[in-house]
């Protein structure tokens, strides 16, 4: 009987089919000539307004202006820019001889086209007070504003406003090909997990040395750690702090811990009947053992913070705020007792027969948030506040803000999303009551006035004074309670040299990297 042989035939047929279906995944540059990068974020779309941060980090896309490590604007596609006297017109001089990956030359029309399309999509440009964007000649463009807007430069440096070749867009502005101007061009695009870029030989700036670079999404932080351990990935971003101890012992890894303008904060519903008194928010802030969280859970001692901005954002960082200033207000117990709360038999605070119960939502995208939430839950429990933790999707926070259901949310806020923190400050605290990722039901007329004044101020000294006042106001009133500032943990294999970390997470600086010659 030929049962087995026929069976095998059928099987091998199906196997062949499977291989054909996944063929594209099998053809690829070799491990020796490819820098492999692993990070948590998936990409699904070519559109820069959606996943542009990945393409910008992989240096496929570039923006008009760039930002240095201190947040200062520096030239990129635009070599110079000028702001008019009334601060309402910005002119940009474009770099000469910049080529798109599709071979065409960059000109003013292409830049205007990209910016106009970006304006229609979701992003910061949409909210900027822009009246017109026009080409002045082949190598310069002008943007006119309806009112002074100092943020424009930083907004233009945002990944969503990357410049693509006109041929890259479809008729409705959808992105069909990722023809940017960066030192690397797209080689393979297998959403949502794998992206390979190839060095672009006619780049205008520093040419890349490594021929290929791949970006692989590793959803599970454990897997990423393992990829770092085994050398399967050369650079691994977003390492789980829990794993640092074990990685430190590995000789061929270099670990980088970089503070970034991202802060773990608790968004408080200041309109909630338990939280509408400043003292209640202060008490909850006092009850958090920040040092313990920074050291025990995040393994980054010293990252604890009581203010939203890190010291690198000098304009916004308050000097002289320490744990002691915190503690001067009293103990959480005494503050809450003053508000009429007393502990019941179970050790939970009660007032007028109502238990002090809060729901804290957070999201699973960043694994450390769940851990921090768990710690805060226990620490609040200790002072008699019972907290229900719900781990959900990040969108639950803006949604809870909008429908008013949110009580407390733990989140990782990126204040450097726009290179000038004012951008995020405005959206978080600028408008009445707060913003999706900022204050909630916190009606403070002063802060709105201060922040909108900053939009027009270009004098650095004046700017700093007002920024400091705003920061002090937020620190005093606690519409959000900062917990720790963020330290990005990165491991780099020793076969790679020249690694540099961008605190604004705009670029991986791939073109500066080299393989160590064996």
């Amino acid at each position: 009987m030929s049962v087995m042989t026929s069976f095998k035939k059928i099987l091998s047929g199906i196997v062949a089919l499977g291989f054909v279906l996944s063929m594209e995944a099998l053809a690829k540059p070799t491990a020796a000539n490819t820098l492999s990068i692993s990070a948590a974020f998936e990409f699904t779309s070519l559109d820069p307004s959606k996943n542009g941060y990945i393409y910008s980090r992989m240096q496929v896309l570039e923006t008009l202006l760039d930002v240095d490590a201190n947040g200062v604007l520096i030239p990129a596609i635009a070599t110079q820019w000028r702001v008019s006297e009334d601060a309402k017109t910005w002119t940009f001089q474009l770099r000469d001889g910049v080529r798109f990956h599709d071979g065409s030359l960059l000109d003013a029309a292409a830049v205007v086209n990209s910016l106009e399309i970006a304006q229609k999509k979701h992003g910061a440009l949409r909210n900027a007070p822009i009246m017109t964007i026009r080409a002045l000649d082949r190598h310069s463009i002008a943007i006119t504003l309806s009112r002074p807007y100092t943020l424009l430069g930083a907004v233009l440096a945002n990944y969503a406003n990357s410049i693509l070749s006109p041929a890259a867009y479809g008729k409705d502005g959808e992105v069909l090909a990722l023809s940017g101007t960066g030192p690397y061009q797209l080689y393979q695009f297998s959403p949502p997990h794998k992206l390979v870029v190839e060095k672009f030989d006619v780049y205008w700036g520093k040419l890349a040395s490594i021929p290929y670079a791949s970006y692989l999404t590793g959803h599970r932080s454990e897997s990423r750690v393992l990829q770092a351990r085994t050398g399967q990935a050369d650079i691994v971003f977003g390492l789980d702090p829990a794993s640092l101890m074990s990685l430190k012992h590995l000789p061929r890894l270099t670990l980088y811990s970089n503070a970034i303008p991202r802060t773990i904060v608790l968004k408080m519903n200041s309109g909630h009947r338990f939280l509408n008194d400043v003292r209640a928010r202060q008490a909850l802030s006092l009850a958090i053992n920040r040092e313990g969280i920074a050291k025990g859970i995040l393994r980054t001692p010293g990252s604890e913070t009581a203010q939203i901005m890190p010291s690198s954002m000098a304009n916004w960082h308050l000097e002289g705020v320490t744990a002691q200033t915190e503690a001067s207000a009293g103990t959480p117990g005494s503050v809450l007792a003053a508000l009429g709360w007393s502990k019941n038999a179970e050790g939970i605070l009660e007032r007028n027969g109502e238990r002090f119960e809060l729901t804290l939502i957070t999201y699973a995208d960043r694994p450390e948030l769940t851990a921090v939430a768990t710690a805060i839950q226990a620490q609040w429990q200790a002072v008699g506040v019972s907290t229900k933790v719900e781990v959900t999707n990040s969108s639950a926070i803006p949604m809870g803000h909008q429908d008013g259901s949110l009580e407390v949310a733990l989140m990782a806020r990126n204040y450097g999303f726009i290179a000038d923190p004012l951008g995020v400050m405005l959206s978080d605290f600028g408008s009445n009551g707060g913003g999706d990722w900022g204050a909630m039901n916190w009606n403070n007329p002063d802060i709105s006035a201060l922040l909108s004044a900053l939009e027009r101020i270009s004098d650095p000294y004046q700017y700093r004074v007002i920024a400091q006042r705003s920061a002090q106001l937020i620190y005093d009133e606690r519409p959000v309670i900062p917990v720790t500032s963020y330290v990005q943990q990165t491991s780099v294999n020793k076969r790679v040299q020249g690694f540099r970390f961008d605190p604004f997470e705009r670029s991986f600086y791939l073109n500066e990297l080299e393989f160590v010659k064996p």
């Binding site: 199906i14 099998l26 699904t44 959206s427």
Partner: protein, 311 residues
């Protein structure tokens, strides 16, 4: 054969309708505003806000009533239109095709390896009897008690971290396939080797098997002519049953090893609320399941034309 195919075709229709409707109802009852979730997936956690959600809502017409949405979906389905992913905007069929390729590769590799493990072990146990039998059966009982993710974790600890033989996760080369495939295979083989063994034992002790030897056929000829095919009947039928645990295993294995297959994609689509992808993926799984079951049925019928298998 014809009635079998007809019955299966009918089942396919009910499955398509049922799975579609079920996922539709479930997705509609997911808490929270769909627009926000989609916006979060599209624009990333740093850039999702009410404005983004509003854009999504307008673009995708998420305001229409459940009934209208259901009707649209159903009519589209009848024209084989699965729509575009809400998150990426890519056609669902394309997304699924990509994922399905990877899943099939993993599934087949896993199945083959599991057969390569289970069949020899099962036959050996049935043939040699104790103590070999007890050892292997005890071992497979222990492995059976390990969830597939535990097997995977142990494999990673041993083969990827300790010995560094294979990569930890990812895809794209043969060495990437090894650990996920073996994880899947081992969990499958721990169950199927028992089926092979039981079936072989039954065949070896069957009267006809004995009679063949009594007729004068040598042991090998008896095994070849009367063993293989008779042993195969319940084993092949069992593979049909094992399909379910295989698909479940694939969901876990893909998640553990970052293998970009359909199970992993489905899990992600559920969190992102990418309804077309969820429905597409569930549908593909359902259809695939019916299709593979039909294949198994036909295989069974071909091996054993008595048509003993009714379900």
């Amino acid at each position: 054969m014809k009635t079998l195919l007809f019955k299966r075709a009918l089942q396919l229709l009910t499955v398509v309708w049922g799975v579609g409707t079920l996922t539709f109802i479930l997705m509609r009852s997911l808490p929270g505003d769909m627009a926000y979730r989609i916006a979060a997936s599209r624009y990333g956690q740093d850039n999702v806000n009410a404005q983004a959600a509003q854009m999504v809502r307008e673009e995708l017409q998420l305001d229409q009533s459940a009934f209208v949405a259901y009707w649209h979906w159903l009519t589209d389905l009848l024209q084989f239109k699965l729509g575009d992913s809400l998150v990426s905007g890519m056609p669902v069929t394309e997304t699924l095709q990509h994922m399905l390729g990877h899943s099939l590769l993993l599934a087949l590799a896993g199945l083959m390896v599991s057969i390569l493990i289970a069949v020899p072990v099962g036959l050996l146990c049935a043939w040699r009897g104790n103590p070999l039998d007890s050892i292997f059966m005890g071992l497979s009982s222990v492995i059976r008690a390990l969830p597939v993710f535990v097997i995977g974790v142990l494999f990673i600890l041993l083969f990827a971290l300790h010995w560094r033989w294979f990569p930890v996760a990812g895809f794209g080369s043969f060495s990437h396939l090894v650990l996920p495939a073996f994880t899947l295979a081992l969990s499958l083989a721990a169950v199927s080797n028992r089926v092979v063994r039981d079936s072989a034992k039954r065949a070896f002790s069957a009267t006809f098997y004995q009679f063949s030897k009594v007729k004068g056929l040598p042991a090998w000829q008896t095994f070849r002519r009367h063993g293989i095919r008779n042993i195969a009947v319940p084993v092949v039928a069992f593979f049909g049953i094992q399909l379910v645990s295989m698909i479940e295993g694939i969901v876990m294995v893909e998640s553990l090893f970052s293998w970009p297959g359909i199970g992993h994609g489905l899990a992600h689509a559920i969190f992102a609320r990418d309804i077309p992808v969820i429905q597409g993926a569930a549908l593909v799984m359902g259809v695939l399941f019916v299709f593979l079951n039909t294949l198994v049925d036909m295989l069974c019928l071909w091996i054993d034309p008595r048509g003993a298998k009714t379900e």
